[in-house]
Subunit: 366 residues, 4 copies
């Protein structure tokens, strides 16, 4: 199966390795008539770049996107949108040693098993740079959602075991962790300094809130909206868990505690009093905010000594030098937002054929 293609109506095909000529994506199924330019994409890519604090590595990659097709006179034509970011600052020399062994926590071993060999430079296809392509495609999706009044915001909810106490989006760019809570960010900085000294790394949790999704989006059996969000998010490297609403807490709640009761708002809309469901019921959006979380593991590449085997199956000790992030969480925030957008757009497009009434409206307008 071609595992780098996502989506049914809004289709995204990514390509590229960390040390190849570049990474890129083809977005097929974007409707015609959407204003789009490189700036719209670059804004999201810039949130992904390393070298923005001492807590993310100083690789300082100048990732600049170029749109090669699908846009004419500043507007999408409905044809495939091809975007590319050329690799400019990867130094092959940094990685030559790892060709001979399997790094713990990395895909080296599994890639070898699957294909018989691998591009050992950096992470190859499994490199974090692969997310560049996703972010480009997701930026288009986010623009589409914006036209619908839908907003997606993700942030670091916890890093290294330190959790935020509140969500204040206005301070989110004032700390290097993309945390909406300054106090928690300060504690994380302290903890991060310790781990940096140890040459160790740390994990965290990203929370994402999607506002203004109309009720009824998502399918009822296999293509439930939460199931598709789970796949989209878990497909991001380093994600080891996904939960929605009350998430794993539902395990020790009772039905009475967990059920979100319905009532009506002042202007007569049906709303829920609580939101343990996280905005999705029976696989379909229920009109509340959609709230989910992703568990991010610690960066596997650490300079601290580790034991592993080399390709001749001998036990060896390694210390991974070079430029590596001590935490993935802050950079992954924009990837979570963009992947959620890609999944959601596909599902909204699906929803357009749910009722004969809407199908007939479309036919008659032509």
């Amino acid at each position: 199966m071609a595992g780098s293609v996502y989506g049914n109506i809004f289709k995204v095909s990514t390509w590229g390795e960390s040390h190849g000529k570049g990474v890129g994506v083809v977005v097929d199924g974007c409707p015609a008539g959407l204003a789009l330019c490189e700036e719209d994409i670059q804004v999201f890519l810039d949130r992904r770049k390393p070298g923005q604090s001492k807590y993310t590595t100083a690789r300082n990659e100048a990732d600049k996107v170029e749109i090669l097709s699908g846009v004419f006179e500043g507007v999408t034509t409905g044809t495939p949108i091809s975007m590319v970011v050329y690799n400019t600052s990867q130094r092959s020399g940094d990685y030559s040693e790892i060709a001979s062994y399997y790094r713990p926590g990395h895909a080296d071993y599994t890639f070898d098993m699957k294909y018989g060999f691998r591009d050992y430079r950096g992470g190859g296809r499994s490199s974090g740079r692969e997310t560049i392509a996703r972010v480009c495609a997701g930026a288009v999706a986010i623009k589409i959602l914006k036209e619908m009044g839908i907003e997606i915001n993700a942030y670091s909810k916890a890093i290294g075991g330190i959790t935020i106490d509140k969500v204040d989006m206005s301070v989110i760019n004032d700390n290097p962790f993309y945390m909406p809570d300054e106090k928690a960010a300060k504690e994380v900085a302290k903890y991060a300094d310790e781990k940096l000294k140890e040459m160790n790394s740390m994990g965290g949790i990203i929370e994402c809130v999607i506002k203004n999704v109309m009720p009824g989006i998502g399918q009822t059996v296999f293509d439930k909206l939460d199931a598709n969000l789970a796949k989209a998010i878990m497909s991001i490297g380093a994600v080891k868990g996904f939960e929605i609403g009350a998430g794993f807490n539902v395990a020790h709640m009772t039905g009475k505690e967990n059920n979100d009761e319905f009532t009506t708002s002042d202007n007569g809309d049906i709303i829920k009093k609580t939101n343990n469901a996280g905005g999705i019921l029976g696989g379909m959006s229920d009109g509340s905010d959609i709230i989910f979380r992703a568990a991010i593991k610690p960066t596997p590449s650490i300079a601290m000594l580790q034991n592993t085997v080399n390709k001749s199956k001998e036990d060896i000790e390694i210390s991974i030098k070079g430029r590596h992030d001590p935490m993935i969480v802050p950079r992954a925030v924009v990837v979570v937002e963009t992947m959620a957008a890609i999944a959601l757009v596909d599902m909204i497009f699906e929803g357009m054929t749910s009722k004969m009434e809407n199908v007939i409206k479309f036919v008659k307008n032509l």
Copy 2:
């Protein structure tokens, strides 16, 4: 989109509502030459039936599967396998009242929003009975995996906040909760009796272990094995979270703690010393046991008084009578196993074209 179709090579299409004539599934893409009969499927269906203890409802549905195509002289022909289970014991009378309101925690409201109306009898398409079709298809997948030496076992890890202390599969059928720990099962029984009195319900966690999956199965970007397992499991009604290996615990682990170091076993195979990854690295199986967990919310249908709105948007109080499970967990165990099997078979089939070497072998053997 057709949301009741799952899979790329091994394709599963389900149909049926709780109060329609029956539920069923078409499995397309099952290879020819697999011994298959109703017995193989019935064994899994029987693990799903209610009425097996006082803690699951006494609906006593006699779900009997019938294979309508795709098998000849006891062996699959490679053509689609159609299976059906006719509904025999659903009483419409039990459900006529709920047509007028939206039950909290159910898909009533979202279904109405999506389609404009709904089959209000029981859960309609969102009924738990829809899982019958999945279990039938999954039973076929499990048989295929068995031929490969792959075993899937799931069990209740926690119910109502009470977690098992050990995994002893030999006692799993000796308690009504499908728990591999008798002591924990006794505590759950006590807690369940309390909730039954309250007319309340409880949630839990199911853990699943897949043994003997060869390394390298899964794709590296969007179709990661864990991403597909997440989608398959989260598509089961009542699941609100999915995690693999250390799961959400990775959030407060360091890289040194989380990385699974490689070494070699006595017979020279590459193995890992720990398994925080849960058997999947970079989206591909790494040869260790694949271990994941699903969070199951409490049954939304409770007799305890709840507040909600009716279709005229008036606030009302309801008490859901009728036959309902006070906990979903024990019955969902087989659904988790079978969904995992469906996802895994599709991914193994995908792996067959990963290397030119295997493709050429196939061509030459013909």
Copy 3:
């Protein structure tokens, strides 16, 4: 790959062999709100049944469709529609001999090569009875198209080398060949009587006209409307060619002759003066009638002596006894209509997301 599943948004999964318990289909992706009942489907099935003249075999199968799901109170719910037709009159005894050899023109040999063995009773999965499932699904599609004002009509254009001279749909049921030209039908009857005596069979051409398709339906590259129609029609057994508009005649036309010039109609619409394109330009409908033709080969099962090999690779002579049509064309007409409908509905649904304008309309109406 699961080869019995067709479609992207409007998905059709068929199952069943000629001598299994039945044949059927699951239609997933039909919008909610379409009035549907068995009668709507039966009307199309009845046009497919053999035993309606001396020129089609007297098997007199009483194919009665049953809808098992997806319809509630006479209207589709948006959930999968499962339909089944049980096999009632297949006599295994008729076919027992052919297990030992490969019939020329049939899929016996190729089936063995693909799967290692086959269900030799009748045509198994390759039997003409497999088209029952397609017709059921297509009947739903035709109903959807009817709501849009779109009509599909197919007829026998030629049989045994005798071609119609005009198209008079009013006489189409007055002859056993589904020909819209009585004079041609009489000649075909004469020719058919000769072939019947010889124990031979004959082929023909079916033409299909689709009226009132709005312009712009179809994709521009791989999923061109004509490419998808071609696949849908060529997937019908016995079809060996597909052409649209002037078809193979374009090969000796000049650009001046072939181009359809544009002009405006009396009420100001853009129309074409001719229709060599057959209603499709650049893969998209252009507003004219869509006109295509399918070439149908002669029935391969003839009682006349043929040479072939048996499974031990010995040269043998055979005469295929039993109940077989001397011509496939009349019965294939409804299959061509219904397959065209299935392909077209999928493409119209696709068209709904072509413009941001239509996507926003959908979102705002919720």
Copy 4:
């Protein structure tokens, strides 16, 4: 639906317009271990270039392919292969006039209807240059097939009504029409000179022969091998018909004439005495050569005066200036070969999971 993505296991996503920055493709699902370099692709692209005779236009585009990912040390890695050809010689000035009207035989009108507007420069997404991307992807597919011993060869069978009398592949590059018959080529040259004077264009037929396909490839219902070939070929712009084996001739053949009888060859293989089926029975390859034909319409862009309407719906007269081919056939030959290759590889990959026996072999080899 994303209409520029083709395939299920071997997936091809194309992008690019005639006057955008370039055209390209992402091939996902190519197995690892295939030797691949730009040369392998360029050889096929060069067969597509215009400016190679006075009968194809002198645009002299220097189309040079660049591989951006998926290849490492000269071998495919199993990850997506991105290829791009930058547009270097398109002159916008040539096309500015056509923005105001609809050219007969072109997709201008249908594109406007579908998307609301179009990139009017050249053919935009509907330009013949879009086939560059297909040829690149197809070149990879052809290389895979070569490893399997499968050969694909297409040629011009007829142009302007003049048909070849024999197939002598050795002379195919000695005439500008890619005809394997020198005598016919001379006649075509004469006829073409006439049409050039008239400022007219001509159509033709391309025939394609695929050798050494193992029997049993293709699915039995919707994904028949011939149905998929039909879709792949009909998706090429200008193709108005597809037929296989005896094609439309089956319409006036009898069963006795049409059936290919089986026998055994000298070395004991089962073969057929004739090949009216064109190598495909019941949707699966039967071991004989696969032979099909495509009908190519005349180039719609002619300088001869034509009537049409402009965007204000006024009747006008036009003469299309600029650089246009008087015939499409010779250039389309390589597109037919490469599209057939793409379809066939996907189907062969599908065949790998047809039998449990092959699946188990794969599992055990790991």
